[in-house]
């Protein structure tokens, strides 16, 4: 294994590309996500995307926020070579419980992990049950991210990436741009 600090910086592009690909997949072939993790449904991008362009002399950063966020500006930035650096996602469990979370691209760390409208009791006699329940939701999310990231990496190093997926992403960008 190479030095951790070097590895962190050298390969953070993979996290940014992964989130950009995840946005593309969510809009064009969402069935991939539910095929990977049948325990979840209705996966979508929630109300926040951060996009950064590292190629410009002065790095450009766009934050798109809000329930009905207009993603057009983000698509335009992707067209200019930017990548998604943070992405907020939301999905439902089989019991229709909503889970949302922000994924940070460079580390794939999780922020704002929230099981909506679900109260975890901290009464002493109920803590163990609450911990087990919370870990269930947490593992739904981490397993989803792990499986999607693995799928992305296997695709990214394959011939299919250069010979098919990249042009599909380009077409998606053009189509999205053409829609406004």
């Amino acid at each position: 294994m190479i030095d951790i600090a070097v590895a962190y910086n050298k390969y953070k592009f993979a996290g940014f590309e992964f989130l950009t690909w995840l946005w593309f997949v969510t809009e064009t072939k969402p069935e991939i996500i539910e095929d990977i993790t049948p325990e979840i449904k209705d996966f979508s991008i929630n109300d926040k995307i951060v996009i950064e362009n590292f190629k410009e002399d002065s790095a450009e950063k766009i934050t798109i926020n809000g329930d009905k966020a207009n993603l057009d500006e983000g698509i335009l930035a992707i067209k200019k070579g930017a990548l998604v650096t943070e992405l907020k996602i939301i999905f439902k469990t089989g019991d229709d419980i909503e889970v949302k979370s922000l994924i940070k691209g460079e580390s794939l760390d999780i922020s704002g992990f929230n099981v909506l409208k679900y109260k975890f009791s901290t009464a002493p006699e109920e803590i163990e049950g609450s911990v087990i329940e919370k870990v269930y939701f947490l593992e739904l999310l981490t397993n989803l991210v792990d499986k999607l990231f693995q799928k992305f990496i296997l695709l990214r190093i394959s011939e299919e990436w250069k010979n098919g997926e990249l042009s599909k992403i380009s077409q998606w960008i053009e189509k999205r741009r053409g829609s406004y």
Partner: protein
């Protein structure tokens, strides 16, 4: 922002150690040996850290406190810090500078004299201030050889990593894109090598 709070932030670590798994009793012993030390506020000026139990942050007893929850081990990192408000430091700087200048018959203090005075004031005031405790949850999943630490603050993560390695004599590696690929048994070694030799491709220039 912890394990059972409504909103959580966390990062993940892999235990990179093929040695025999630690028993629950051994984990209890290791935590006890490195538990948060009870030191009087008047005796410390620097941050102090150590482990504490999930249900008993301020008076832990690792021989009897609950640390096993289902298949998981849960405990906490406690860090106590002193914080002296800047306005109090500024007040003491003005008053004590004036006193020193009068005593030494000088019109000003040199840069080094001011720096030394500020350090002395900060140390003295720190010893008088109560510590502010912060507690961060740790979730250990032995079956997955994974540890989840509930904060993404870089300085706290560094304290956690150092203390965890020291306590359990084991290696933990933070998970991020490179290490996820490194530890992923579903990606073959030749495919890992392809990833290691890859670099970013601009989608629009491809």
């Amino acid at each position: 922002m912890g394990l059972l709070t409504s909103t959580s932030s966390f990062l993940r670590y892999k235990i990179d150690d093929e040695s025999q798994e630690l028993s629950l009793e051994k984990i209890r012993l290791c935590l006890k040996e490195n538990q948060f030390p009870e030191i009087a506020d008047s005796e410390i000026s620097e941050p102090v850290s150590g482990w504490t139990s999930y249900e008993n942050h301020f008076d832990p007893d690792f021989e009897s406190d609950h640390i096993k929850y289902g298949n998981y081990i849960v405990f906490c990192l406690r860090i106590d810090k002193k914080s002296v408000p800047k306005k109090i430091i500024d007040k003491h700087m003005v008053l004590e500078s004036k006193k020193i200048m009068q005593e030494t018959n000088k019109d000003y203090l040199s840069k080094n004299e001011k720096r030394k005075l500020k350090e002395d004031i900060l140390l003295r005031l720190s010893l008088q201030m109560p510590s502010i405790p912060d507690v961060y949850d740790v979730l250990w999943m032995p079956e997955k050889k994974e540890v989840i630490f509930f904060t993404t603050q870089k300085s706290v993560n560094e304290i956690f990593e150092t203390l965890f390695r020291l306590t359990f004599k084991t290696s933990i590696v933070r998970l991020f894109p490179y290490t996820r690929v490194y530890f992923d048994d579903g990606i073959s070694d030749p495919k890992k090598d392809l990833f290691y030799s890859s670099s970013h491709i601009n989608i629009q220039e491809s």
